[in-house]
């Protein structure tokens, strides 16, 4: 295999949380928590996930707009090919260790396209000079030459040379994104990070820009890291895709592979969230409930288990998958002490219609119905545990309710971290469901 242009190894970006008078560090927001992947020359790798999963932070850490907390980003583009590790184990091409001079050189070989076309240009600078600024910064003093290069480039991205002297506010969003492409291209980089470049655009313009990106990549052969929350966009431009959830990569593989044969439930959910242009197949997808949990205190084990629709059941019990999910949600809510008895009582009152107080039974069934737990769970041990927990709750004894639930219900997903499993060459996922399906892989640090 050829040398990858970019190898990310165990990259971490933690933001310290400080508090108190002395600004003591009390914790960390683990926005990116140990991701590893490669980008090969001429390839586009997608990084996909919901907002808050850390994909943008990963991008800015890779391109070194922010300093990574830990890990390596080895960039072999430009004329850095075939470097080997030094004796102390450090790699000469590690972006996170670049000094000022090396970093400036790196900027020439790696560029970025930004998300918001309306704020990614200085409103007081003509777009031409904004693009030409990169040439100037890298030492091209010849003003007519700068202008000639930029005018030529503007035409190549579908604008006209006269647009050089116009200001950002005179362009539409799609046109600005074309200029953003020109700016990323003007130094002729080997690698471009595109951070949600089309998510702020109309569908018709989205399609235009995506096909422009494809054309340009074909023509100039650069590699790309393409970040998006939208699987349908990923499918249009990417060769491979890495699915990120809460700072970790849960699945990575060829786009075709991932679309046809998603191995991680999160990937499945993302795929099914793509609106299908078919009015007859409505509401058939998997609905991903809630939002990404806080990366400050991520769930134990598999981080997706709090929202997973295929969360594994305890070995000795058997449920409808839906009720199992409901019980787990109920358990987590009790554990957070976030059950508001008062409002439940009122709701129960509302559904009961009798003015004479609410019976404990009514409250209990109200709780069951609010969480979607069936009135009778088939599994007897589970039923007893839930009933006992409900009794405790009604008596405002949250501690013992929690105890009942925690001791009875436990999913393997939360106890251990899933290993990376290889399904096909290059297609890996990290899910307990797949443990039996393939062999675990260990990424060697920086295989050159």
């Amino acid at each position: 295999m050829t040398e990858p242009i970019l190898s990310v190894r165990n990259l971490k970006k933690h933001y310290p949380i400080k508090s108190g008078l002395l600004n003591r560090k009390v914790g960390a927001t683990k926005a990116v928590d140990g991701i590893s992947f490669d980008v090969h020359p001429g390839e586009t790798v997608g990084l996909v996930g919901e907002s808050g999963c850390g994909k943008s932070t990963a991008a800015t850490s890779i391109i070194r707009l922010e300093d990574a907390t830990d890990g390596e980003v080895i960039f072999n583009g430009g004329n850095r090919a075939s470097e080997t590790r030094r004796e102390d184990g450090a790699h000469p091409n590690d972006v996170t260790e670049f000094n000022k001079r090396e970093l400036k050189q790196f900027r020439r070989d790696a560029q970025m396209i930004f998300q918001d076309p309306s704020s990614s240009f200085n409103p007081r600078m003509t777009v031409g000079s904004a693009v030409a600024e990169l040439l100037l910064v890298h030492g091209m003093d010849d003003k007519p030459r700068r202008r000639a290069i930029v005018e030529d480039l503007l035409e190549r991205v579908g604008l006209s040379a006269e647009d050089y002297d116009r200001y950002p506010h005179e362009f539409s969003g799609g046109q600005k994104q074309r200029i953003g492409l020109a700016r990323a291209l003007v130094l002729n980089p080997d690698f471009i990070v595109a951070d949600e470049p089309v998510s702020a655009l109309d569908v018709s313009i989205k399609a235009e820009i995506l096909s422009l990106i494809n054309d340009l990549q074909e023509k100039y052969g650069m590699s790309m890291l393409f970040i998006s929350h939208d699987m349908s966009v990923i499918s249009k431009v990417c060769d491979r895709v890495a699915v990120m959830y809460l700072g970790e990569i849960v699945e990575i593989g060829d786009v075709d592979e991932i679309f046809e044969n998603p191995q991680h439930p999160y990937t499945e959910a993302l795929l099914s969230a793509i609106p299908t242009p078919d009015p007859r197949s409505r509401n058939e997808g998997i609905e991903l409930k809630g939002t990404v949990p806080s990366p400050t205190n991520p769930p134990s084990g598999c981080r997706f288990h709090t929202r997973c629709h295929r969360v594994i059941q305890p070995p000795d019990m058997e449920f409808e998958q839906e009720s199992w999910r409901a019980i787990l949600n109920f358990r987590d809510r009790v554990a957070q002490e976030a059950i508001d008895l008062e409002s439940i009582r009122e709701n129960a009152l509302g559904s009961q219609d009798s003015g004479s107080g609410v019976t404990d039974q009514a409250i209990k069934s109200q709780i069951r119905s609010e969480f979607g737990i069936p009135e009778r769970i088939e599994e007897p041990t589970a039923e007893t545990a839930v009933e006992e927990a409900l009794d405790a709750l009604v008596n405002e004894d949250t501690d013992s309710a929690r105890e009942h639930l925690m001791s009875t219900f436990e999913t393997p997903c939360e106890t251990s971290k899933p290993e990376q499993i290889e399904h096909e060459p290059g297609h890996r996922s990290a899910c307990h469901l797949n443990t039996s399906k393939g062999k675990t892989v260990e990424l060697t640090p920086g295989d050159d």
Binding site: I63, P123, L153
Partner: protein
């Protein structure tokens, strides 16, 4: 564009691109600024070192250069003081860093103008201020300083009359106990016999000095402190902002009165004290604006281009914050003008100064029979301050290209 090197981005051989640093690369405005400021600095040094206290600078310069003759025929007998040098410097700054960029970027200028001219009162204000500016700069070259002449005291303006009982001598026609105004003194004279019009023309220069120099000082300190504070963060930010708090809480007026009590009043002192304690608001404003600009994606885009921190701040953050401070400053200037007038009126200014405030003050005791001494400068002062306020308001709307693009969506 005939260059031997290829003019497409993908064929640039970066190894051969070498930066030729030096004076050639400086922007036109920087070059012009250097060309004009260096002689000014030289002249100032010459004035300090070689010219005696009582000598007029240009007379001495003529002698030293052996050009007394031509200098005399040209009437070059000007004797600039410290404040004049600073004033000329600010005029250069204004011309090269405000007017020249507008000329160089006609597209943006047209756009600003289009936005600006929607506001009719502001356009009138701009015309008025331009007039005041021109009079302040060239007026004193054509109109001599009004000298006191006790025989000509309280002459009425043209078409007006005054009771002869109040005057020593009537320059115009006196009939039936009233003295007619003449074109010799179109706006009349003061109690000490100074021509009001000439007084006002020279007062305009003072007004311009106050406006320009205070603006320079406030902008310079405010932008520096605000930007450094925003970009450095940490203890630098903390220190600078606490300093700003002190400046904002400082009792400037009392301080000024104290200093005046010790050293006597002068225009220089007024400008320096009031301006050095007025930048607090501007600094805070710049800081918060700079913080929000630093969040914008184009700052990241510039950082990723490989630009130095200095370039990011100088070319991207400052221009985007400084334009919004223009409004702040245009609203600050009227305060200074009013303060000068008020202090003068209360007799706390430099009585020898030919400012509008002093003119108003000099009419204080004779309001009954010579109201023109107060009315003429009073109106001018009022309209000038009003104009600054209108202008500030309109600039706030016009200098914001984002607002428009949003509205177009």
């Amino acid at each position: 564009m005939a260059t031997e090197q290829p003019d497409t981005f993908d064929e640039v051989n970066w190894e051969s691109v070498r930066s030729s640093s030096g004076i050639v690369n400086l922007a036109l405005k920087t070059k012009l600024m250097l060309i004009t400021t260096l002689p000014l600095l030289a002249l100032w040094l010459y004035d300090r070192v070689a010219v005696g206290q009582r000598e007029k600078t240009f007379v001495q310069l003529g002698k030293d250069l052996g050009l007394s003759g031509p200098f005399e025929t040209l009437g070059l007998t000007w004797n600039p003081a410290g404040l004049d040098y600073i004033f000329i410097f600010t005029i250069f700054l204004f011309a090269f860093y405000m007017i020249l960029p507008l000329y160089e970027n006609p597209r943006m200028t047209r756009y600003y103008w289009k936005e600006f001219k929607r506001n009719r009162p502001a356009v009138v204000s701009l015309v008025w201020l331009a007039f005041v500016f021109v009079v302040g700069i060239i007026g004193p070259l054509f109109i001599d300083k009004p000298e006191p002449d006790i025989l000509k005291s309280f002459q009425p303006p043209v078409y007006a009359t005054v009771d002869t009982a109040n005057i020593v001598q009537c320059v115009g026609e006196a009939s039936g106990g009233t003295c007619q105004g003449t074109w010799q003194h179109p706006l009349g004279t003061t109690g000490s016999g100074r021509d009001v019009l000439a007084f006002m023309v020279h007062g305009t220069t003072i007004t311009m000095k106050i406006a320009f120099i205070t603006t320079l000082i406030v902008a310079l300190i405010g932008i520096s402190v605000g930007t450094i504070s925003a970009y450095s963060g940490g203890w630098v930010d903390e220190t600078l902002m606490r300093m700003t708090d002190i400046v904002l809480a400082f009792p400037t007026l009392i301080f000024f009165l104290m200093i005046t009590y010790i050293y006597g009043a002068s225009l220089g002192l007024f400008i320096v004290i009031f301006a050095t304690f007025a930048w607090g608001g501007a600094a805070r404003y710049i800081r918060s604006k700079a913080l929000s600009v630093a969040e914008e994606e184009f700052i990241d885009a510039t950082r990723i281009s490989g630009a130095s921190r200095y370039r990011v701040v100088r070319r991207h953050i400052v221009p985007n914050t400084a334009s919004s401070i223009i409004t702040n400053l245009t609203l600050l200037v009227p305060g200074f003008l009013l303060a000068e007038a008020q202090l003068s009126f209360l007799g706390l200014g430099d009585a020898g100064l030919l400012s509008w405030g002093q003119l108003i003050a000099s009419g204080r005791s004779s309001l009954e029979y010579a109201p023109w001494i107060i009315l003429a400068p009073g109106f001018i002062l009022f309209f000038t301050i009003l104009a600054f306020n209108f202008l500030g308001d309109a600039l706030l709307d016009a200098l914001n290209p984002e607002a428009e693009s949003e509205a177009e969506k």
